[in-house]
């Protein structure tokens, strides 16, 4: 699904956020523009209404004295008008407003806004109107749309309290100026030009917003693609690696960004993976190699034997050869399995208390025939030392070390085994007086299948020390080797006592 792609999701979020911002901006701009236009209209309406109100008294009918600003409408006290009589009757004669010529121009039908006015008596009847005025004023229930700006309010301060009423309906707006003593002027106009202008503004804003949105989406796509590209590199490399090419690395010029650091971490993981894999491969290849030789012996020997009739003695010899090869394979397989189990942590070590000195003595007894055969003396300098662990496994390690020490010793050589307690660890040292191990071989003696003499004549398969080390490690101990050419080699095993 496309919506599962990070890029698409980023893009959708970009788009939504951009849309919200643009919409907010557009609506605000539109509202400001509308407010501005309406404000202008409103102050215009107010101005005209005030003008009307001010022009009322000089043009008032006879009998009216200029008693004040609001005098013309103030004069008739409430209740003075009969229910059926229009107030203008009370004012004597048709209460016509006499507008100055410039005032009349204010309500000219030729104006695009088509300003008009209506004059109401205190009982709500229309007493006078401009020629272009509609039949009815807008209901006062219609929405009050605007409070005039403060500077306009100042203009109204000349008058008494003016409840200001703006009503808007369709494209009409009206301002109602109530006189304190009843009656009111309603000045209105058409909003058509403003609404048209506003519509143009809206169209322009929408078009501009759309363009910006498109640009933003394009830019967002580009940015997202740019941001995603390292991820795609990583993904491509990872798929190559999962396809088996472990040598692949993510190439990133920028190593400081978050993705760069991720790539660095991944690269080092891949490197470790590769080396672990190579090690595993080496191990498998070594194991196969070790198994190949005895298989070759069996194959060759049996094919030779079966190629013609043989004497019983020859058949016996063939069988003996095959047996030797098979035993060698068995030893190797056992060692490989032991290592595999130790590696997998499946080999559980017993946690029992045992005396290290007893175990060492038993091992020494075990290798005594070999030592005698090689004319090597095994010397024990051990004291009772209680250890916790798997005594059989420890014995296996010690037997292996002792066998090696005897095997690689010189005739009339010595093997010294000593124990001591050091910082809560039992330290066992097995020293021989052999030829020693070459310095370049020393770091590799614990490597699997590593044999310093690189041949099979010693009878070992190169796993003994690896197994020893694995056993000691499983006990939480360590194993070290030191050697001096011509003097001898010493293996040191440290086992935690507790």
């Amino acid at each position: 699904m496309i919506f599962n792609s990070i890029r698409a999701r980023l893009q959708i979020w970009y788009g939504l956020i951009l849309l919200v911002i643009l919409a907010g901006f557009g609506i605000t701009a539109y509202a400001l523009e509308r407010g501005h236009l309406l404000g202008r209209i409103n102050s215009e309406l107010e101005r005209r209404a005030n003008f009307l109100a001010n022009s009322l008294h000089p043009n008032h009918g006879p009998g009216r004295g200029p008693e004040g600003d609001d005098a013309p409408l103030d004069r008739p006290p409430p209740g003075d008008f009969p229910e059926d009589g229009p107030p203008e009757n009370r004012l004597g004669g048709p209460p016509r407003l006499h507008l100055a010529p410039q005032a009349a121009g204010l309500f000219d039908a030729g104006d695009p806004n088509n300003f008009y006015f209506l004059m109401f008596s205190h009982d709500g009847r229309i007493v006078q109107r401009s020629t272009n005025a509609p039949a009815e004023a807008l209901s006062t229930a219609d929405r009050i749309v605007h409070q005039p700006p403060p500077e306009d309010r100042r203009a109204g301060e000349n008058h008494a309290v003016h409840p200001r009423n703006f009503a808007i309906k369709g494209d009409r707006i009206e301002y109602k100026l109530e006189m304190p003593l009843g009656g009111a002027f309603v000045v209105g106009c058409s909003l058509a030009p403003e609404l048209l202008g506003l519509r143009m503004v809206a169209v322009k804003l929408t078009v501009a917003g759309g363009v910006i949105l498109l640009l933003g989406l394009g830019g967002g796509w580009w940015l997202a693609s740019r941001a995603i590209r390292p991820i795609e590199d990583i993904s491509a490399t990872a798929s190559k690696i999962s396809a088996g090419d472990l040598a692949q690395r993510i190439s990133l010029a920028d190593t400081e960004s978050e993705l760069g650091r991720l790539a660095t971490v991944l690269n080092s993981t891949f490197a470790r993976l590769e080396s672990a894999f190579a090690q595993q491969q080496q191990f498998t290849s070594d194991a196969a190699h070790e198994l190949r030789t005895p298989v070759t012996v069996i194959l060759t020997q049996t094919q030779l034997s079966l190629s013609r009739e043989r004497s019983p003695a020859e058949y016996r010899q063939t069988l003996e050869t095959c047996q030797r090869a098979a035993q060698r394979m068995r030893r190797l397989i056992e060692s490989l399995l032991a290592l595999a189990r130790l590696d997998a942590g499946q080999e559980t070590m017993k946690r029992l208390k045992f005396d290290l000195a007893t175990v060492i003595r038993d091992c020494a007894d075990l290798v005594q025939p070999l030592a005698a055969d090689r004319e090597v003396t095994v010397l024990l300098e051990v004291q009772p030392l209680e250890c916790t662990g798997d005594s059989e496994r420890i014995a296996q390690v010690l037997t292996n070390l002792l066998t090696n020490a005897i095997h690689y010793n010189r005739p009339q050589g010595k093997v010294r085994v000593s124990t001591e307690l050091q910082n809560g660890s039992a330290v066992i040292t097995v020293r021989d007086t052999g030829l020693g191990i070459a310095a370049e071989d020393l770091p590799r003696v614990f490597e699997r299948f590593y044999r310093s003499d690189k041949s099979r004549t010693s009878g070992g398969h190169g796993l003994g020390l690896s197994i020893c080390q694995a056993i000691i490690t499983a006990h939480g101990g360590t194993m070290e080797v030191a050697s001096e050419a011509g003097v001898g080699t010493s293996f040191t095993v440290r086992l935690p006592v507790g």
Partner: protein, 216 residues
């Protein structure tokens, strides 16, 4: 044909040597690289089977040192079957490469091919007049009739046939037909030559007095 086997696994060495002897080759053995190199340099073997993993001096070193002095065909024997090992072996001067474990018949076939190539031949059939020698089947026919022949006689015949037209000295024949372990009576060669003449015709092998034998 005289071969040298250099292999450190004693059981394998013994069985290979026995198998090749039963195939009619004279076989020398060495269990170490240095010993192998010494023998390879001092005797003109028809082919050498050389194990790669040897104590002290490994097979690569033996091969490198040998190639300075001799062109003896060398068949490398190894448990390593990775491509880079094979490439290394062939580049170092090995003529063939056999991976353990191998089948004896394949080893024999590769040895025959190796020896055939070193004698600049392309088939296993050697035709000399009425006599046809099949080096793969190790059989000899005279006028398409099979001839009963012993392994040693065959080896002598094959060697002379491979060096047809050349005079082969008695010393060379001794060197190529008898291994270090063979009891070589001085007149054994004459007995074999005489037997071959009885079976294939007196003129088939000519004697160059004081030099050696020759198949024209």
């Amino acid at each position: 044909m005289r071969l040298l086997i250099v292999e450190d696994e004693p059981d394998l060495l013994a069985s290979m040597a026995q198998a090749l002897r039963e195939e009619g080759y004279a076989v020398d053995t060495a269990a170490e690289g240095e010993d192998g190199l010494f023998k390879a340099e001092s005797v003109d073997y028809d082919a050498i089977i050389l194990d790669v993993m040897l104590p002290q001096m490994d097979g690569w070193t033996v091969l490198k040192n040998l190639r300075r002095a001799k062109k003896t065909p060398v068949l490398m024997l190894t448990a390593r079957d990775q491509s880079r090992d094979r490439v290394k072996g062939l580049d170092t001067g090995a003529d063939d490469y056999v991976v353990k474990p191998f089948d004896l018949p394949e080893l024999f076939a590769r040895l025959r091919a190796l020896i055939r190539r070193s004698a600049n031949r392309t088939t296993n059939q050697l035709e000399i007049g009425r006599v046809v020698i099949d080096t793969a089947a190790r059989t000899v026919t005279l006028d398409t009739k099979p001839v009963e022949i012993t392994a040693r006689e065959y080896a002598l015949l094959e060697y002379l046939a491979l060096h047809r037209g050349e005079v082969v000295t008695r010393a060379t024949l001794y060197e190529h037909l008898f291994g270090d372990d063979d009891d070589t009576l001085s007149n054994l060669l004459d007995v074999h030559v005489s037997n071959l003449r009885k079976k294939l015709g007196h003129e088939f092998i000519s004697t160059r007095r004081g030099h050696g034998y020759c198949i024209e």
